[in-house]
């Protein structure tokens, strides 16, 4: 037992647990393989999701923050960053709707032309920044006293 631990780096339970998860992942690939034509694009999306998040999206929003919000006066930074995070997350999740990427399919499906989502997101973002600005003004007034 201690020889396993020395060579492997953890107990046998660790190994069994991970092997079980790899077996399930293997079975899922077999499931995907039922549509061989789909398999390639599924795997591309799977790998691209990790790479795009870890090596593009995360560095990009960190850099954006460093180039813009981080340069503001230190005491105001939190009041800009919080609404920026909320607004940015909503755009990230709902950009197909906000930017109208699904508009054609939606019109066919529901009979309702898709429009106005960009404006709604802009108004919501404006409201969030306004509330945060109000909180900042109140905090400043309290500090001044």
């Amino acid at each position: 037992m201690s020889r396993i631990r020395a060579r492997y780096g953890a107990g046998p339970g660790h190994l069994l647990l991970l092997l079980a998860s790899f077996v399930i992942a293997g079975a899922a690939i077999v499931g995907w393989f039922q549509r061989p034509n789909d398999l390639e694009s599924v795997l591309v999306w799977f790998v691209a999701a990790v790479l795009l998040h870890d090596l593009v999206l995360l560095p990009l929003y960190s850099l954006l923050d460093r180039l813009t919000i981080s340069r503001l006066p230190p005491r105001s930074i939190a009041y800009v960053r919080v609404p920026a995070i909320v607004s940015g997350l909503l755009l990230l999740v709902l950009f197909p709707t906000i930017l109208g990427f699904g508009a054609h399919a939606e019109l066919r499906a529901s009979g309702i032309p898709e429009h106005g989502y960009l404006l709604r997101w802009l108004v919501l973002s404006g409201v969030l920044f306004a509330i945060s600005g109000l909180a900042y003004a109140l905090a400043r007034a309290r500090r001044a006293h």
Binding site: L18, G31, A49, P74, R81, V82, L89, L92, A105
Partner: protein
């Protein structure tokens, strides 16, 4: 044999060095708090997802849409019941709504652990290598499931693959990786939550050397920048985005004024009037011609004998009215008053007495041009071949001359523009 390991004390410059990561907010405690939210929420999303697979009853007729369903991962939690009527609206609404609301938490968690991606040395032992591979599967499957699901509910089919199949087996990669991740990380999570140091307001590395030794792989920056946003501020932002997304999901399932909560999602929008409730495939997009649903339309009912019925003959049969939801896989639902003929009455007319499954065939021959309901749905007196809704003839968009409506089944199984009903006796 010893593995040739790089010098653990000499990481290359850049993100491989701990001092590269300067945010004062990262800490094992922050990660543990976000992890705890996901520990509770993600299993609910996974289980409601598996329940949706049950609800589609892929073992019946052509419901599997070509998927082979005898593999080891094609499991069913139970045969899908025919009630309560809101069951699928609830499970699928929860799946989509919770999924939307948890995505900001997932991204925050990934942000909090990003220094680990660049840990040095990259591989300490075979155990460490396998664990990192499993983490790659966990992160990959989590992002894959969230991204495909979130795009699908917004009508943006950017991917070439078949969504149900890719999303279903992707869920299993996720479930397997999560089932390994939870027991491996639970001790870390418990230890991190036990350290009741200033978690929300505080920043920087844990002060005492004892605490540092207790957490040798701390996520805290050894060279933290000045605090410009408290952890409470970060969590407020994440919770704010989650809350707004939660309301989008709730609004899609609600009726009345609450529906307007879903002001940033396209699914389930309504038009004015008693017949303006949402539709997911319009008459125009079906490509059908008007003459097919005119006076010459006939319904063929096949059982032990075959009947051919006009709409007038159907209207002459006993009519029943029920309030039933249409609940869609995209997480929206809408409850309306449907009037029509009981499917069980039609089965009796076709000479089918015992338990039977029912395949309803549409004039429209697309992916969901037909669907099969189980014997429990057929036996349910609320399962109707609807001819009217809210006191009016069905509009073309909602399936005129006749459509299926049945409690707790996915919306696409409520076939519109029905031309044929096929009953097949089954043993239960």
């Amino acid at each position: 044999m010893r593995l040739p390991l790089p010098d653990p004390n000499k990481p290359p410059p850049g993100p491989f060095r701990p001092e590269f990561w300067r945010s004062p907010l990262r800490s094992s405690q922050l990660t543990a708090m976000l992890g705890l939210v996901l520990l509770v929420g993600l299993p609910v999303v996974a289980i409601t997802g598996l329940l949706s697979n049950d609800a589609y009853q892929p073992g019946l007729g052509g419901n599997a849409l070509g998927r082979q369903i005898n593999g080891p991962l094609d499991v069913y939690l139970f045969g899908w019941p025919s009630g309560p009527r809101w069951l699928y609206a609830l499970t699928q609404g929860a799946h989509v709504t919770l999924g939307l609301a948890l995505f900001p938490v997932v991204l925050a968690k990934l942000w909090s652990v990003i220094p680990r991606l660049f840990e040095w040395p990259p591989i300490r032992s075979p155990a460490h290598a396998l664990e990192r591979l499993s983490l790659a599967l966990l992160v990959g499957s989590t992002l894959f499931e969230f991204v495909t699901g979130i795009l699908n509910i917004q009508y943006w089919y950017a991917f070439k693959f078949d969504f149900p199949q890719a999303h279903y087996y992707g869920a299993w990669v996720f479930i397997g990786a999560l089932a390994a991740h939870i027991p491996l990380k639970l001790p870390t999570l418990q230890r991190s939550l036990r350290v009741r140091r200033e978690v929300l307001e505080g920043a920087g590395p844990l002060a005492s050397p004892t605490a540092q030794r207790a957490d040798p792989h701390s996520l805290s920056s050894p060279r933290p920048a000045a605090v410009t946003l408290s952890r409470r501020g970060l969590l407020t932002a994440v919770a704010g985005a989650s809350g707004i997304l939660l309301l989008q999901g709730v609004g899609q399932s609600a009726g009345g004024w609450a529906r307007s909560l879903a002001f940033l999602l396209p699914r389930g929008r309504t038009r004015p009037g008693p017949l303006g409730f949402p539709v997911n495939k319009t008459w125009v997009s079906s490509g059908l011609r008007r003459v097919l649903v005119g006076d010459r339309w006939r319904l063929t009912v096949r059982g032990d004998r075959t009947l051919v019925l006009s709409r007038q003959q159907l209207l002459a049969l006993p009519q029943h009215t029920y309030e039933l939801p249409i609940a869609c896989v995209e997480g929206w639902s809408t409850t309306q008053r449907w009037t029509g003929v009981r499917v069980s009455d039609l089965a009796a007319l076709a000479g089918v007495a015992g338990p039977a499954i029912l395949t309803s065939v549409s004039l429209e021959t697309g992916t969901y041009g037909q669907a099969t309901l189980g014997h429990q749905q057929v036996a349910n007196p609320q399962t109707l071949l609807a001819l009217e809704v809210n006191g009016h003839d069905l509009p073309l968009d909602h399936g005129y001359p006749a459509r299926i409506i049945s409690p707790a089944v996915p919306g696409v199984h409520c076939t519109k523009w029905v031309s044929e009903l096929r009953f097949e006796a089954v043993r239960t």
